[in-house]
Amino acid sequence: MALNKRDKTEVWQGTLALMVLKTLDALGPMHGYGIARRIEQISEHLLSINHGTLYPVLLRLEQEGSIRSEWGASENNRKAKFYRITKSGKKELAVEEREWQRAHDIVGRFSALSKESV
């Protein structure tokens, strides 16, 4: 069954949220543009996103209390909003990572199946 548009967005948002949290956890406070660049770099440009899609995700994470934001100055002394992961965000990240790992393992096992082993 095909996912409808809404579901697709939810899945994408969920994945992106995990990447945002991981990035902030690993690299410390960062502004939106920085997060977008990091995600592109880490995914080795396989994942090329419209940067705009990042902001609803940031807003949502902030509302859930996983991250916090603050206006500050960028490396070029430009005004920018910096995000940083919170304690509950870290907890959330651990949970999500475990889930992903599990999903990954399961899919991996199915991928390894060959006709003979059934």
């Binding site: 543009y33 705009g52 902001y55 807003l59 509302q63 909003k81």
Partner: protein
């Protein structure tokens, strides 16, 4: 919902209030993002213009992101609603005339409905302080062949029913008692109820303090305990909790106070305290065990329905008959004796039930008219705004959004109107309690409860949906292009106008129904006031007394008291006549009597002769202005020891002595106290109900031949009633300084009180009818006014072409009158139907009362004339040159 989601909803909710600041913040953030990307691009070697463009492409749709964030950032549904509410508030403020009229109409209609409903609720559905009232059954004794029915039963019946736990969870009996209480400066009369042990269980009532009676205390000899009603506790003891365990003196006997009842509970009505009934086995098994002098209440088991309980009582009654001695059994069978049940609410409301339901229906009609009126106003308003709505639709506003906006506007009106209405209702209930007959509303309070609140909310929401849907439905059919082209006048506008006319016709029809009903109540009330009760109440004051045990136990002493008081009264200034009687007309007492006529054999299967019986002193006829028709009245020489005599009234003479001379005949009451010789005939006196006199005559016996410790003093005096009251007080005080008097009233007020339920209904119906008339006239005025505005141009052309102003006036007024006329015609059909429904409540007024209908139709058409004339006059005053220039 987990913590995370909860936090999110909370933050989104908070986002509602800071929407603007959040939005600015977001724009700044996105701008800085694009800037940073652009700078990076320039650093990578792009020309500035190209760098910015690339950054924009990389980012994707800015608008889409903003919108997405806006949706995530708050609750879009709520945000739209708030916007709609703000919009509604703004547009309502812009047309204050409409808003004020609509709000007032709604508030009054909802207020009146809520007020009436809260009375109906307290009387019929939820008597205060009683839990699950629908399960309470009052045991009723019927004498089918005598056409008598009472909510009373005998101690024997009570004892028989009490044992059947499979039908009734609790059964209890009560009998009114009253005590002289000397605990204060002024001797007071306390009304009390002697109740059996399960009384409070039947009603599910709990004491506020202390406890209720134990089984041990419901026995003779150990029953000197009392439970105070909350009101009496406050009044007599100032709410002092130390009264528990104290002993108070009631009727010169010591009673220990063991409890105080909750504030709400007051069954039977208006009692000050409860004492144990303490029936002895002699009271039940003995000869007096069969006299029907207890009110018996039972709470049925949850599994037993009312009709099952009622049927069980019928069957139980036939079994009880088998235990009755043969002679009495024959009497009971001949009289058609049987038991049945009355639902507590019905018994509680008594004869007020139908009037209350009528008022509820009438006030419901007023609400309907109000809704139609507001519907009309909304339609007019939407028509006037057709252009604005069309422009908005053309600019891309979804039809759903426009509908939602209009519905929001009606909801805002309904909620504001409902709130004002609820506040009005609180005042309204207090007013009703003051207007209403004492007997119907004793113990009721003007408090608000959840049912009433729900009713108000329901009424306002129903109104909102009703008058919101009409214009909403109308706008949904609007074709924006056509509206804008025609300057606001289209076919759908004409449809709206027809709809408004239809609403006005409906309003006039409903108003006529209410007017006719009010007219019928008014007429039947005037008819009632014209009825001759058979005595002259003017200048007569009454007061009740009860001699305590002890000094006054001896009947001879009681006679001495009676004579002494009467002698002193006759010497008092201004007093022209004085008597003592028991019971007296319109004071609520009842003493029925079945009797044999000596020399006649009672035919088996036929009921024994029935009458009402009065014990009076010789001056009774002179005091009340009763006419002696034949023979003599009782005299001072009819005393204990002399021949027992009776005076009958003309009704009894007609009934049992047709075509013969009753004088010298002897009647013998079935109670077995001997025979009374008839010595005179007086005219019939209506005893309790002017509208429906009983079919029984009255006979009078001398109070001096059988003195009693209780009675009513009747004094006829010239001048102010206060003179007579003073004389009564003086005469009684001179005889017994500690004897309290109670129920001091003028005879005229007793008569008026007997009519007060009808007066109450009549007054309220009149208020509702006037409100309906005003609303209908207002609705008509609105329609005609609108028509005039729409046809301004046409009228101007006519006048310019030489049409007479009078002709134009007639044209417009004629249109208004035609609508009202159609309404009146429909209303007449409605009045015929309502007349049939009201028949039982009318007195000597035909259910189709043509003169009332004609008169009220005239009133309605007159109001319609005024309502159409005012806008019509404005129409013809218009200077055609001015109108045509501006069009």
């Amino acid at each position: 919902m987990n913590m995370k989601q909860l936090r999110r909803v909370w933050n989104r909710f908070r986002g509602l209030s800071s929407a603007r600041r959040r939005n600015e913040d977001l724009i700044a953030e996105l701008e800085s993002h694009i800037q940073m990307q652009t700078e990076d691009n320039i650093r990578a070697g792009m020309p500035p213009a190209e760098a910015h463009r690339a950054a924009m492409i990389k980012f994707g749709s800015l608008e889409h992101t903003k919108e997405h964030c806006r949706d995530e950032g708050s609750l879009p549904f709520l945000e739209t609603m708030i916007a709609d509410i703000r919009y509604a508030g703004r547009s309502l403020r812009q047309s204050p005339g409409f808003t004020v009229v609509a709000l007032l109409t709604l508030a009054l209609a909802i207020g009146a409905n809520t007020a009436i409903f809260s009375l109906v609720d307290q009387i019929l559905l939820h008597p205060p302080g009683v839990s699950r009232p629908e399960r309470i059954v009052v045991i009723r004794t019927n004498y089918d062949k005598l056409n008598l029915s009472f909510d009373v039963a005998s101690p024997r019946t009570f004892a028989d029913v009490r044992g059947h736990k499979e039908i009734f969870e609790h059964v209890a009996a009560t009998r009114p008692v009253s005590f002289n209480y000397a605990g204060q400066d002024q001797p007071a009369r306390l009304s009390a109820a002697a109740v059996s042990v399960e009384w409070f269980d039947v009603f599910g009532a709990k004491p506020e303090r202390g406890r209720v009676f134990s089984i041990e205390e419901d026995k003779p000899g150990t029953n000197r305990v009392a439970v105070l009603a909350y009101g009496a506790w406050m009044r007599l003891f100032g709410g002092d909790p130390r009264v528990l365990g104290q002993t108070i003196e009631l009727g010169e006997q010591p009673y220990r106070v063991v409890g105080v009842m909750g504030r709400e509970f007051g069954e039977p009505k208006s009692v000050d305290l409860w004492v144990p009934l303490a029936l002895s086995s002699e009271d039940i098994e003995g000869p007096r065990g069969r006299s029907e002098n207890l009110s018996v209440f039972a709470r049925r088991q949850a599994t037993v329905s009312f009709s099952q309980a009622d049927a069980w009582l019928r069957v139980a009654a036939t079994q009880m008959l088998a235990t009755v001695p043969p002679a009495a059994r024959r009497y009971l069978i001949d009289a058609g004796w049987r038991l049945g049940g009355t639902a507590f609410a019905d018994s509680n409301a008594g004869t007020n039930k139908t009037p209350l339901l009528i008022l509820l229906a009438a006030v419901g009609l007023v609400l309907l008219i109000a809704c139609a009126n507001i519907g009309g106003l909304m339609v007019a308003r939407t028509s006037a705004r057709a252009r604005e709505l069309a422009v908005r639709a053309a600019l891309g506003a979804a039809r759903g959004r426009l509908l939602r906006q209009i519905l929001t506007e009606s909801l805002v009106l309904a909620i504001v109107g409902g709130t004002i209405g609820f506040l009005l209702a609180r005042g309204g209930v207090e007013l009703l309690l003051r207007l209403a007959p004492e007997s119907a509303v004793a113990g009721l309070e003007a408090g608000e409860d959840i049912t009433v609140l729900l009713f108000t909310v329901g009424a306002s929401l129903a109104a909102a949906v009703f008058f919101g849907l009409v214009p909403a439905w109308q706008t949904s059919r609007v074709d924006p292009g056509a509206v804008i082209k025609s300057g606001g006048q289209t076919a759908s506008m004409a449809a709206a106008q027809r709809l408004r006319s239809g609403l006005v016709v409906a309003e006039s029809a409903l108003a006529l129904v209410l007017l006719v009903s009010a007219g019928q109540f008014l007429r039947s009330f005037t008819q009632l006031q014209r009825i001759d009760p058979g005595f002259e109440p003017r200048g007569v004051v009454t007061a009740a007394y009860a001699l305590p045990q002890g000094v006054w136990t001896d009947p001879q002493k009681q006679a001495v008291f009676t004579r002494s008081v009467l002698e002193r009264l006759l010497q008092a200034k201004g007093v022209t006549a004085a008597a003592i009687g028991r019971p007296i007309p319109f004071a609520g007492g009842y003493e029925g009597s079945a009797f044999f006529i000596e020399g006649r054999t009672v035919v088996s299967g036929e009921a024994v002769p029935q009458a009402e019986r009065r014990w009076v002193t010789p001056d009774y006829v002179r005091t009340l202005g009763v006419r002696l028709e034949r023979g003599r009245f009782l005299t001072d020489s009819d005393r204990t020891g002399t021949e027992l005599v009776a005076v009958i009234d003309a009704k009894l003479a007609r009934q049992y002595f047709p075509g013969e001379d009753p004088l010298g005949k002897r009647i013998r009451p079935t109670s077995g106290e001997g025979s009374y010789t008839i010595v005179g005939v007086v005219n019939h006196v209506v005893q309790s109900n002017l509208a429906a006199d009983t079919d029984r005559g009255v006979y009078y016996n001398s109070l001096f031949q059988r003195p009693a410790p209780v009675g009513f003093i009747l004094v006829k005096a010239s001048g102010e009633p206060a003179v007579a009251v003073g004389a009564i007080h003086d005469a009684v005080q001179a005889t017994d300084r500690n004897l309290p008097l109670y129920d001091i009233k003028t005879m005229e007020s007793l008569l008026a009180e007997s009519l007060s339920p009808r007066r109450f209904v009549m007054q309220l119906m009149a208020i509702f009818a006037v409100a309906a008339l005003l609303l209908a006239a207002l609705g008509l005025y609105g329609v005609v006014n609108y028509v005039v505005a729409q046809r301004k141009r046409e009228i101007a052309i006519r006048v310019a072409l030489g049409a007479e102003r009078k002709g134009v006036l007639m044209l417009v007024v004629g249109q208004g009158l035609r609508l009202a006329g159609v309404g009146v015609a429909i209303g007449m059909v409605g009045a015929v139907v309502s007349g049939k429904l009201l028949e039982s409540q009318l007195f000597q007024v035909n259910s189709f009362d043509s003169s009332t209908i004609a008169a009220t139709a005239g009133v309605l058409l007159g109001a319609a004339l005024v309502a159409s004339y005012l806008p019509a006059r404005r129409a013809v005053r218009v200077d055609p040159a001015v109108t045509l220039r501006y069009e």
